[in-house]
């Protein structure tokens, strides 16, 4: 585990998953490794009332019903499409679900403008084809095809980024549950790859990209949509940021404390910026960033790394402000102007009124803007 930069969920939580599997006595659908209730417990964490011998930590933060609806969809006949703004934890939820259900979250197709049908179905090992001809041995199955053969969950990231014809290759996979390979001889049934029970697809889509390559209605029909909103509840957002930051510190083996007051400063500043984006009349008046929780984590990560390697090895409000400006200022001059307005219109009066870390935060922000402009 330690020699992986980022271990997938099934490796990272392998021990916990093993334990859950050992105590799970609820009925399991198909070839699932855990029952739906245990999957939910794994993702949302345990409580005292669950009466377990050990604590299971919460790994995904959000409304319970989203998780329940997702699990139930996977147990049904349809694929699951998680849709939401960037940084709302769609991919993380998809990873946790596939890790819990099939202990394999790495069967992933990444949707891009360059994704082809081969990436979804299969391709050929050309040299083997030349040497031995077309056979199952010279075929390279896609992650989705592997998932079908093993009866596990396949993932498709950023579905709407790939073109419509590629997306439509999923239709037959999701409805007929097999892939035919016309190149092979049909005599011994080699030309069809059937899906085993337990196969399903979790796709994610970015709601900001909608309309780029919108799904056809035939494909829509084969997916259940679970819409994941941006977390606006401050309490759960703090939870998420803390959770992800701890993970990050552990990964980089950094010994550094994140003072709770700075976490508050970060959360509050994002909340303010979101409010101003909501009130803005045109795109020029709001930051280009979606201001998601993931971006908050990015800001914190950046400032932690910066302080650790170039600073005093303690996190300061100044460093946090510099990272905030650096991360959020994407367009010049629009984004810088908005941040400048925010620092002087909101942070400055607050610093005078409340004190705390705000004056230092303001100072850091000013310096960063001065450097960038």
């Amino acid at each position: 585990m330690s020699d992986l930069l980022r271990a997938p969920a099934e490796i990272k939580y392998a021990e916990e998953l093993d334990w859950l599997e050992s105590i799970d006595d609820h009925p399991k659908p198909f070839s699932w490794r855990l029952s739906p209730k245990m999957v939910r417990l794994f993702i949302l964490g345990s409580e005292r009332a669950d009466g377990l011998d050990r604590d299971v930590s919460q790994k995904w933060f959000g409304d319970r019903s989203f998780v329940e609806r997702s699990i139930v969809t996977l147990a049904s006949d349809r694929g699951l499409l998680l849709i939401g703004d960037p940084g709302t934890g769609k991919s993380w939820l998809a990873e946790l679900l596939s890790a819990a259900i099939s202990r394999n979250s790495t069967q992933v197709v990444q949707g891009t403008a360059g994704t082809t049908e081969d990436h979804i179905k299969y391709s050929w090992n050309v040299s083997m084809v030349i040497a031995k001809g077309q056979s199952r041995a010279s075929m390279i199955p896609s992650p989705i095809m592997t998932a079908m053969e093993t009866g596990t969950i396949g993932r498709f990231e950023e579905l709407t980024r790939s073109t419509s014809d590629v997306q439509d290759a999923l239709i037959s996979i999701l409805s007929e549950k097999y892939i035919s390979v016309p190149e092979l001889d049909g005599a011994d049934g080699e030309n069809i790859v059937f899906a085993k029970p337990g196969f399903s697809v979790i796709a994610t889509a970015n709601s900001r990209d909608r309309g780029v390559n919108d799904l056809s209605s035939a494909l829509k029909r084969r997916f259940n949509f679970v819409r994941i909103p941006v977390v606006t509840n401050k309490k759960s957002e703090a939870e998420i940021v803390r959770f992800r930051t701890e993970e990050l510190l552990r990964r980089h083996a950094i010994e550094l404390d994140v003072p709770p007051t700075l976490l508050d400063v970060l959360l509050q500043s994002f909340a303010d910026l979101r409010a101003s984006a909501a009130a803005a009349g045109s795109d020029d008046e709001k930051l280009e960033s979606a201001l998601s929780t993931a971006e908050q984590i990015g800001v914190l990560e950046d400032s932690i790394l910066h302080s650790n390697f170039f600073g005093e090895r303690t996190l300061t409000a100044r460093a946090l402000a510099a990272s905030l400006v650096g991360t959020l200022a994407r367009r010049e001059p629009e984004d810088l102007a908005i941040l400048n307005k925010y620092l002087h219109g909101v942070v400055e009066p607050r610093g005078k009124e409340e004190g705390g870390s705000w004056p230092e935060f303001l100072e850091g922000g000013r310096e960063a803007i001065a450097k960038l402009s």
């Binding site: 409580e47 319970r64 019903s65 829509k220």
Partner: protein, 937 residues
């Protein structure tokens, strides 16, 4: 407390407390306290019937108990002053709300007005069962025992608190903030809601804990799952004990919020005091009575509790506020919004109630003649055989608490029906949904319910499943799937107050609109066509409609064709009427008076006599009084008031409006009345003097706009003849104009125009001044502002139109582009906004002066260029010029003087050069031609 039926339970709880908390401590106190509360309530000789609001289980248990016990007196937890209204419920379609309303308040802070309390009543509620039984069974008395509406506000500590007062008291203020169904949720307006049987944890953490472990999202869902369903078929004793227990639990596990606890306890003291008073007064045996109250109040620990409780509570007298009572329509959505229930929960409760009735075959009570569904209940059925009343209570709690949760079995047919229906509804609303979706919804519902530990999907599980499987896009303006499910599950039901239960005013309105032959009680828009020539009797309807339009909110009565203005009425009108939809507004109008005329009169008076009333507003009230009420009495009274207000005004802000209204009224009176009413004569007289006084200041005051000063001059010149005939003096105006020394170019131009009208400045001089302005490069940039003054001057001096056209033409011809071009938009906006009614005058005049055809333009010379050079001024009119004529032709005067016997002779005229006489001498041709014409005769 040994020897009570609960000894065994006590022992068990004691053991449990010892095991979990390690001994006698708070936990044991709470657990045993719960049993004490139940014990106490069960032992009370006056039977307490605990209920929860919008609980079909409560309603069902109530119907059963009433049939079985047939009590002679029913005490109900509802504001005692609402008693007389309840019998009117039979004329309504439920849900409706009983309302107490006070606009005239005395004894409360004035900013609380108007006060309004509503108590919504639905059919699927225990209180309705009690009301229906008591009102329709001979010999049964219904007594409302809760504090009066007045006390609701007396005890309201909102002036001491900053947080939301309504929720704190177990009451809800109608906020109407829920999205989607604004109109329905706002049915209660701003009223404070009271409800029978408010039962909900008051401890946020407790509620959160219960929701979390019940795997539900809303309190209503939890209640349905864990109380409603298990209690559905239980017997009376179990029902009662369980409800007592829940009430006691929520009561004991509540944070010590002083205000709220105080109000609750005071209410309990109030109710018990009232009940004891009633029992003592009538001598009824407590065993024949039934006390219906919220389970929360049944677990009360106040000293006054019980028939034998203490008598220490003194009921404070009501304030002097006058309360009006009525029924207003309500709706499920309005109830949910007001009391913070999950959306759709009241509708689901109603559906559940119908289902329970069918399943258990219990006959519910219904008020005779109740509108809505058909009457199903028969009164006075023989009591069914059930455990004898009065038998010592047994411990039913232990059994109930130990029983595993009753799992409602899967009703496959019902779920299939739902799945098919939702897909159909979704398709109708533009979703791409198919039979495959119905299958998926069915399957997902069962799976979701399984994950949430229940065999039967609740409506909420079904809702989640439908959203998951059907909702793929969000289109603004389209109903989302969540809402579709709510509609499908019974949807919103909107109540209606029947004709007989309406206040006199509303009934009067319906009576007077009867000739229209429309069902105006029904919701929705009705189109009324009134042809007054063929059916003169419809004139009265038209009068009513115009008054309704003035008094009700927009949309209740909207004219499509036809208008009513001073002196004008249409012979044909068509209206869009939505009185059924706006029933609450009409009913609340009824609290103000007994007829539309009376209410309108009151409102007009209130406007006119308000401390901030302006002359223009009072004149508007006069106009409305004339227009809608006819007759001269009120108009004259308000007119006199306008006079007072005008005399007290020190600014000229309202001048344009005053001018417009007075002109309208004068024109109306001149055409329709034999003589002008005295008030308007005084108004013109006073106005003339008033505006003369204010004129010099207004000219100089920077805050007074050109439009306002122009309106003042308009009043002065327009009403001049009338004012002078009434004894005003023109000198006053001349002096006022002479005193005016404006700084602003626009006002200066206005002053010049005024002086032309007064004759102290000739047109020639005016032209010369304009020329000077144009010739002077230093003032040219301000020339446009002079022009705007001239445009405004058309209002008081319309005869000046030709000069204005000339000035504008000169501006176009001579102004440098640098000045002209930036000014053009300003000219257009000025003409549009300030002088919209003056523009036609200007255009007509321009049309007269400029050539009509392009060909004629080349040869065209502006008329002002053809005139001899200035300053050969043509005198307009003036006393001095006439005098010169007299001196030149003295014969007539001499003859007259001789007749009168005056012989003093002529005084010497000082300067009689120029003038009309000189003109006559210089151009004798006209006079000679006239003489030739006249000569033969």
């Amino acid at each position: 407390m040994t020897g009570t039926p609960f000894t065994a339970l006590r022992g068990q709880l004691h053991d449990a407390a010892t095991e979990f908390a390690g001994g006698e401590d708070a936990l044991e106190g709470i657990l045993l306290g719960l049993v004490d509360d139940v014990d106490r309530a069960v032992a009370e000789p006056l039977e307490i019937f605990p209920v929860c609001h919008h609980s079909p289980a409560s309603a069902l248990a109530m119907a059963r108990r009433l049939r079985e016990k047939q009590p002679k007196v029913v005490y109900l937890e509802l504001c005692e002053d609402m008693t007389p209204l309840l019998t009117e419920l039979r004329n309504c379609r439920l849900p409706v709300a009983v309302q107490a309303f006070a606009s005239d308040i005395d004894g409360f802070p004035p900013d609380w007005a108007p006060l309004s309390v509503v108590a919504p009543i639905t059919e699927a509620s225990a209180e309705y069962q009690a009301i229906a039984y008591a009102l329709d069974t001979p010999g049964v008395e219904l007594v409302l025992v809760d504090r009066s509406s007045d006390h609701v506000f007396q005890w309201d500590a909102r002036h001491e608190r900053t947080d939301d007062p309504a929720r704190e008291d177990g009451t809800g203020a109608g906020s109407g903030t829920a999205t989607g169904t604004e109109a329905e949720t706002a049915l209660h307006g701003e009223a404070v809601g009271v409800e029978i049987g408010d039962l909900r944890p008051r401890f946020a953490e407790l509620e959160e804990h219960l929701l979390r472990h019940g795997r539900v999202r809303h309190w209503s869902e939890w209640w349905h799952q864990y109380v409603e369903v298990p209690l559905g078929d239980s017997d009376h004793d179990t029902y009662r004990q369980v409800m007592f227990l829940i009430g006691s639990l929520f009561r004991r596990l509540a944070p010590g919020d002083g205000d709220r606890v105080r109000v609750d306890e005071d209410r309990e003291r109030y109710m018990w005091t009232r009940m004891r008073e009633h029992l003592a007064a009538t001598g009824t045996d407590p065993a024949d009575c039934l006390y219906v109250c919220g389970a929360f109040h049944a677990a009360s620990r106040v000293d006054e509790f019980g028939v034998h409780g203490g008598d220490g509570f003194e009921i404070t007298p009501r304030t002097a506020t006058t309360w009006q009572y009525g029924l207003i329509p309500s709706s499920n959505a309005a109830i949910e919004a007001q009391f913070g229930l999950a959306s759709g929960s009241v509708s689901i409760a109603a559906t559940q109630w119908t289902k329970n009735l069918k399943r258990t075959r219990v006959k519910p009570y219904r008020l005779a003649g109740q509108a809505g569904t058909e009457r199903t209940a028969k009164k006075a059925l023989p009591p069914t055989v059930l455990p004898a009343a009065g038998a010592p209570a047994e411990d039913r709690l232990s059994g109930f608490l130990q029983k595993p949760p009753v799992l409602d079995t899967l009703d496959e047919t019902e779920l299939l029906g739902w799945s098919v229906d939702i897909v159909r509804a979704a398709r109708r609303n533009g979703y791409l949904a198919s039979t495959a979706d119905a299958i998926a919804v069915f399957e997902t519902s069962i799976l979701l319910a399984g994950m949430r530990d229940r065999a039967k999907p609740t409506p909420y599980d079904f809702q989640d499943a439908a959203v998951t499987c059907i909702e793929k896009d969000r289109v603004p303006g389209r109903r989302d799937v969540r809402r579709l499910v709510e509609i499908m599950m019974g949807g919103d039901r909107i109540g209606q107050v029947g004709y007989e239960a309406l206040p006199p005013l509303a009934r009067d309105v319906h009576d007077r609109l009867a000739p229209l032959e429309l069902n105006l009680q029904q919701r929705g828009v009705r189109r009324a066509l009134l042809d007054m020539t063929s059916r003169p009797e419809l004139r009265a309807c038209s009068d009513v409609l115009w008054m309704l339009r003035r008094l009700l909110p927009h949309g209740a009565a909207r004219p499509v064709m036809g208008e009513r203005r001073l002196g004008e009425r249409s012979i044909q009108e068509s209206w869009d009427l939505a009185l059924g939809t706006h029933q609450r507004a009409l009913i609340e109008l009824g609290y103000e008076g007994v007829s539309l005329e009376q209410v309108l009169e009151q409102r007009l008076r209130r406007t006119a006599y308000g401390p901030r009333a302006t002359t223009a507003e009072v004149l508007a009230a006069v106009e409305d009084a004339t227009l809608y009420l006819g007759g001269r009495r009120l108009a004259e009274e308000l007119g006199t008031r306008a006079l007072d207000v005008l005399a007290g005004e020190r600014t000229v802000d309202g001048a344009p409006e005053v001018l417009r209204r007075v002109r309208g009224l004068l024109a109306y009176y001149r055409t329709s009345e034999p003589v002008l009413p005295p008030w308007i004569e005084s108004f013109v007289r006073t106005g003339y003097a008033h505006y003369c006084t204010l004129l010099p200041t207004a000219f100089r005051d920077e805050d007074a706009t050109v439009g306002q000063v122009a309106a003042m001059l308009g009043f002065l010149f327009g009403m001049e003849s009338l004012a002078l005939s009434l004894g005003c003096d023109r000198t006053q105006l001349e002096l006022a104009v002479a005193q005016a020394h404006p700084n602003d170019p626009a006002k200066t131009a206005l002053l010049w125009a005024a002086r032309v009208q007064l004759g102290t400045l000739s047109r020639g001089e005016l032209r010369a001044r304009c020329d000077e302005l144009l010739a002077n490069p230093l003032v040219v940039p301000s020339y446009p502002r002079y022009l705007s003054g001239f445009v405004h001057a058309l209002e008081p001096v319309p005869a000046l139109a030709d000069v204005v056209v000339e000035a504008v033409s000169n501006a176009f011809g001579r102004l440098p582009d640098a000045v002209l071009l930036p000014w053009l938009p300003v000219l257009i906006t000025t003409l549009r906004s300030n002088a919209a009614e003056l523009a036609p005058l200007l255009i007509r005049e321009a049309g007269r002066i400029f050539p009509a055809r392009l060909a004629a333009l080349d040869a065209w010379v502006p008329p002002w260029h053809g005139q001899p050079a200035a300053p050969r001024a043509l005198p307009a009119a003036g006393a001095a010029h006439g005098a010169a004529l007299l001196a030149a032709h003295p014969a007539t005067c001499d003859a007259l003087a001789e007749l009168l016997g005056r012989t003093e002779g002529w005084t010497e005229a000082e300067s009689s050069a120029g003038t009309g006489a000189a003109l006559l001498a210089r151009h004798p041709a006209t006079a000679e031609a006239l003489a030739t014409l006249l000569a033969p005769r």
